[in-house]
Structure formats: C-alpha cells, structure tokens
C-alpha cells in the first residue's frame, strides 16, 4: 500500500495521504485487528518493516510490507520505563508519512492491548470534544489542548475523507469515527467563509461546550448533500436538524416507507422538492418546468400513495419531514468517492 500512497500523492497532491493513514488505522481499531495486523498495515503503508516490542511478557514482533514475519536482523530499541515500543525500520531518510504512521500504529496497539480500560482511552482530542457522551470537563480540557477558546463561537464542518477541497480552511481538524464511518471534522470560527469543498455539511454555531451539537448537525447536513447541493448548511433547516439527528435511518416510520412509492416515479424527487419549497402548486409547476395540470395530477398521485393530502397544513409538515428522512435513509454521499478521481481525470 506504500505504492498506493505514493500513487495517490502523484495523482492528486491535495488528497492528503495523512488523512487516509488516519482513516486506515481507525478502521483497524474499530475492527479489533491484532498486533500483527496493525504492524502489517503500518509496514504496507510505509514500505518497510514495522516492529513492536514489549517488556512484560517479553515479546518482539516484526512484520514486513507483505505481512510476513521479518527474518532479517534489526536491533530493537530499548524500553526505558515504557510498556512497549513500536517503530518503522526505515533505511535512509524518513518519508513524509512516517511520523503519522508511527503515531497511529502506537495508538492502535495501545488500544488493542488495553482490554477496554477507560484510563487508556486515548482518543484524540477533537473526537472527545465532539462526543456528547464524554464528560464536560474532559471535553473542555481536550478543546483547550487543541486551541479552542471558551466563550468563542464556532461551527463544525463535516466531510468524507474523499471530499474535494478547492481551498482548505484554517481549522482545527481531525478524523473522527462515527456511526457513518470515519468523518473529516473541522472546527472553524463562526464567521468563517463558507467552505469551498464538496461534499461538506456545515454545522450550527456553538460554543466549546456545545460543539458536539454542531457536529451532529453538520453530519445531518452532510448526508443531505448531493450533486445539486454539494454544501448544505444545517442553519437552513433550523429545528428540523435536531429532529433528524435524533431519528436513526432504521426508525420505524410509515410515512418514510410510503415515500418509496413516490420516489419510484422518475419525477418523484424533483416534484417533492419543488412542492416543499414552493408556496403553491402553480409555483411548483413552474420550478419543475411542467404544466399546472401535470403538477396537479402528480399531487393527486402523491396523495394516493402516501394516504394524506400533501398540501394540507399538517400534511405538508408530515411530507416535509418524511422527505428529509427518506433522503437521509438513501444518502450515498459517504459511499461514492469518485469526485477526486473525476477531477484528476478531467485535469489530465
């Protein structure tokens, strides 16, 4: 995979190989991969043997980039007052990602050997800052370590690791593991210009103590992104964002299930979107570029499928919420890393 990292950088210098290294180890940690597997990944990423040594019980493991035990000789480092040590057996000058690979390897090995002890939970500071389940004191301490100031207002941006950044903002950033997979999270000042990235979710404003809420809203916004709207602001959805964040995709929701029947029509998505944004059927017809009578017929079809009048007061709200939940349930924004490839293809 070292070759892959090299290719990646050659194809797209902005692709941030370091972020991919981080994401790689996050998956290894989440997947409970053992020491040999962790060393194999580090070695494959670095292109040289990776080693591990612990004192009690005495154990030495060295794995090559091919995932095999190394048979050549190497003097392992001493272990002065440390439980264990990991290293890359680089001959010659160290390379761009050696430091991050070694750091992530050490972190992953520590977790693997920690047997779930809380005192060894050494998640990175931004992940703790954004975790609503973490203690407030811990969140504050972590936020302070990464330079976030109490009393200042920020927004959290959420993007997939493969997002395309035309301009990378100055931000406190890291990869954070979420139930949707690894997410690139960035904390920017409230007044920062909108991100020039696609796709990207922009969270609501928050002070340090509430950054986890901003992150949650940014995740919902990100999952509402599509090719037509590569950047979505949580602010635009107001209180709905909290509601959406609280309802898992698997939630039992008949209204959302019924929308499958509407979306099965080629016109389903654009028509619902137009109806929810427009003030009237006539206006929705105009924005869809169809005749008023066509739109009226579609509204009739929708009412038949979902079993209530989509334009009646409460019906409108039900439809709007179901529409957003349906889009989250079917969101593919985190699954299609083709943007970078397309850009590279177009550029050369």
């Amino acid at each position: 995979m070292q070759e892959l990292l090299g290719r990646l950088t050659a194809l797209d210098p902005d692709a941030s190989a370091a972020l991919r290294v981080i994401a790689c180890f996050d998956e290894l940690i989440v997947g409970h991969v053992n020491t040999r597997g962790l060393l194999g990944a580090a070695a494959a990423l670095a292109g040289c043997t990776a080693g591990f040594r612990q004192s009690r019980p005495a154990r030495l493991v060295r794995i090559t980039p091919r995932g095999m035990p190394a048979t050549d000789h190497w003097d392992p480092p001493d272990l002065p007052d440390r439980d264990f040590s990991v290293w890359l057996e680089r001959v010659g000058p160290s390379q761009a990602n050696d430091a991050i690979i070694t750091e992530r390897l050490e972190f992953a090995v520590r977790i693997r050997h920690s047997a779930g002890r809380r005192d060894l939970d050494s998640r990175r500071d931004l992940a703790v800052t954004l975790d609503p389940a973490a203690e407030l004191d811990d969140r504050r301490a972590c936020a302070a370590r990464i330079g976030l100031t109490p009393g200042r207002t920020y927004r959290v941006l959420a993007a997939p690791l493969f997002a395309t950044w035309h301009e990378h903002p100055k931000a406190t950033e890291d990869v954070v593991t979420t139930s949707f997979g690894p997410i690139h999270a960035l904390v920017v000042p409230q007044g920062a210009p909108p991100p020039d990235a696609r796709p990207c979710g922009v969270g609501t404003t928050a002070v340090v103590d509430d950054l986890h809420r901003s992150f949650r809203s940014a995740l919902v916004a990100l999952r509402l992104c599509d090719s037509a709207a590569p950047v979505v602001r949580a602010d635009d959805y107001g209180a709905l964002i909290g509601l959406l964040a609280d309802s898992p995709d698997s939630a039992n929701s008949p209204d959302v299930d019924l929308l499958d029947g509407v979306m099965a029509h080629a016109w389903g998505m654009v028509t619902l979107d137009a109806l929810l944004r427009a003030g009237s059927v006539r206006q929705a017809a105009r924005s869809c570029g169809v005749h008023h009578s066509t739109m009226t017929a579609r509204v009739g079809t929708i009412a038949d499928v979902i079993g209530f009048d989509p334009l009646d007061g409460l019906g409108r709200t039900r439809l709007g919420l179901a529409f957003l939940m349906w889009r989250l349930r079917h969101s593919t924004v985190l699954e299609l890393p083709v943007h970078a490839a397309r850009r590279a293809a177009g550029g050369g």
Binding site: E3, A23, D26, G31, G37, A44, L336, A340, A341, G348
Partner: protein
C-alpha cells in the same frame, strides 16, 4: 441498500487508501484516469532483488497485428521449464502486461516456471474479439516456439485475475474447441465471466469496494457495445454463457465473498463439475475484488495467495 457481507476489517482499512486510486464506481469518463492510476511500476522495480530475467518480443496478434509480450524466466533456468501464460487485470479497459504480476513472481522464482505476459489490446478502442484473440495468438506463439523459449509444451497453464481471469477462461474454451495448444490448468482469480450482470452478488455492491456493478457494466459495454447482455454474445467473450463446460483443463477459481463476481465464479465452478471436470473453488469471506493485489499484507489476502500458489505448485513444479 441491499444487505451484503461485510469487508474484513483489515481490508476495510485498506480501502481507506485504495479508494483514492481505484474508485468503487468506474464509469466510461474515468477510463483515462484509471489508465494512469492502474499503470504498473517499471518492471525493474517490480523485479528488484529477484533472480528473474526479462525478454521482450513482438509477436503477431489478432489479424497479424503486432503486439508485445514479455517472457520472464528464472535466471538460473536450465532445460525446458513449465510455462505460464499470464493475462493481466484491469476491467478490459486499463492495466498493462505487468499489472498484478508481482503476485505470480514466486511461480517463476520458486516453481521454476517461464511466464509469458501479454500486452493484449484494450477496450473500448479494441472491442471483442481483439483482447481474447490477442491472448490466443500469444498462446499459439508460446506453444509453437516452446523449444526456443525453453518451455515444456506438455506443462502449460493460463492464469489471470479479473478481466484476465475471464480472458483465461475464454481462451481455455477456444483452445478446446479449436484443437489448440493443450493447457494443463487454468487459474481464474475472481474472473469476469458474465456480461449479463444478473446475479445477486452483482446487485449487492454498488458504490463500495473495488469494481462495483456499474464498473462491470462499463467494462462489458466497452468490450461488447450494444451486444452486452443480449442474445448474441459468444461464450469465448463471456464464458458464463458457455453451455458446454466439459473437456476443460482443471480450473482453480478463487473469489471474494464480498464482491460482485462471487456468484458467477461459484456458478462457473458448478458448471465444470456438472460436466465432469475438475475445479478447485475458494470463496474468501470478507474479501473485496482483487484484495490480494491491493492489500497483500492482510491475513485474508495472504491466505488467498498461499492457497493459490500451493495449487499451482502441484501442477507446475518438477
């Protein structure tokens, strides 16, 4: 989203890097990008530290057009050696004769085989039958020049991964039907066999892993154009369509449980058995398409490579 088998954890980690080189969904507009991203390293770099000698040759391909082949042999080889015809991967649209070749170098260095790898012409510029007939021409050349090449004509196999696996299967069918050179084995790694895309596994992988449903449609459309999925596709192009799988050389078929080719690979092995033939079928849990190429350091890929090599050793080694 349909339910689908999970990727193995080590392989999932690998995808975090691989996704930037090989996007899950390859559409026609991505082919220029894929030709750059999937290009192999210089052969000197691939062979560094190994006692393998390379000779290049130009041979007549389909319709007599010149195509390139390379012959890789153990530097210390003496006397006639077993021969391997190697057909590279790349979805029929990209890759070159050295793509994935690092996985078969042990066959040369350890089993003493002479390996011929073919620069078959690629779709969409060259549709069916160019790619396979270029491969067939290379097989004929290898057999007719066996003495010069130091190859034992009674101990030749064809091997390939993905599109190369599909080409190897088509080649074996063609050699059988035309009374061509005798193959004693065919190694079909996660082979691309079926242009119809009707299997459950095809529908399980959209936008994830390596080579999803859409990528496969792109590859077959490049090879077959409008004929893809229709009634007029030959079994040599899409071996899954063969109605007679009897009289074929023993097949080694491996495939990931977490890839679109799972079901067509299983069906092909089933067809060979039904016809009274020999097939070794290995379905690797958690494996995505070509995981041994992209992440050979992982436990799943190592086991996959080791098991395949053991089968080849039985066939080829003295």
């Amino acid at each position: 989203m349909p339910a689908r088998p999970r990727f193995d954890a080590e392989l999932r980690a690998g995808l975090a890097v691989i996704g930037g080189i090989f996007p899950p969904t390859v559409t026609a507009d991505l082919v220029p990008f894929m030709r750059r991203s999937y290009a192999s390293l210089p052969i000197e770099q691939i062979l560094a530290g190994r006692s393998i000698t390379v000779t290049d040759a130009t041979i007549p391909g389909y319709r007599g057009d010149p195509i390139g082949v390379s012959v890789l042999r153990p530097t210390s080889a003496a006397g006639p050696r077993p021969g391997v015809l190697y057909l590279h991967s790349g979805g029929l649209m990209f890759g070159d004769r050295y793509s994935g070749v690092d996985l078969v170098l042990d066959w040369i260095a350890q089993f003493g085989a002479v390996l011929v790898t073919v620069e078959y012409r690629l779709a969409p510029e060259f549709g069916d039958p160019y790619p396979r007939e270029d491969c067939y021409a290379a097989l004929s050349w290898m057999a007719s020049r066996a003495a010069d090449l130091g190859i034992r004509p009674d101990r030749m196999i064809a091997a390939g991964g993905s599109s190369g696996g599909g080409l190897a299967a088509g080649l074996a069918l063609a050699a059988r039907d035309r009374g061509g050179p005798t193959l004693i084995g065919q190694v079909l790694d996660y082979p691309m066999l079926d242009d119809r895309g009707r299997t459950p596994s095809t529908d399980q992988f959209d936008g994830v892993g390596v080579w999803d449903r859409v990528s496969n449609e792109t590859g077959w459309a490049a090879l077959l154009g409008e004929a893809r999925g229709g009634p007029d596709v030959s079994a040599y192009a899409a071996p899954a369509r063969a109605t007679d799988l009897g009289g074929l050389p023993p097949a080694y078929i491996d495939v990931g449980a977490a890839e679109i080719f799972r079901d067509e690979a299983i069906a092909y092995a089933g067809g060979i058995w039904a016809a009274g033939g020999d097939a070794d079928l290995h379905v690797w849990a958690g494996a995505f398409h070509g995981c041994d190429i992209f992440a050979p350091h992982t436990a799943v890929a190592r086991e996959m490579i080791r098991t395949r090599d053991a089968w080849v050793e039985r066939l080829l080694a003295d």
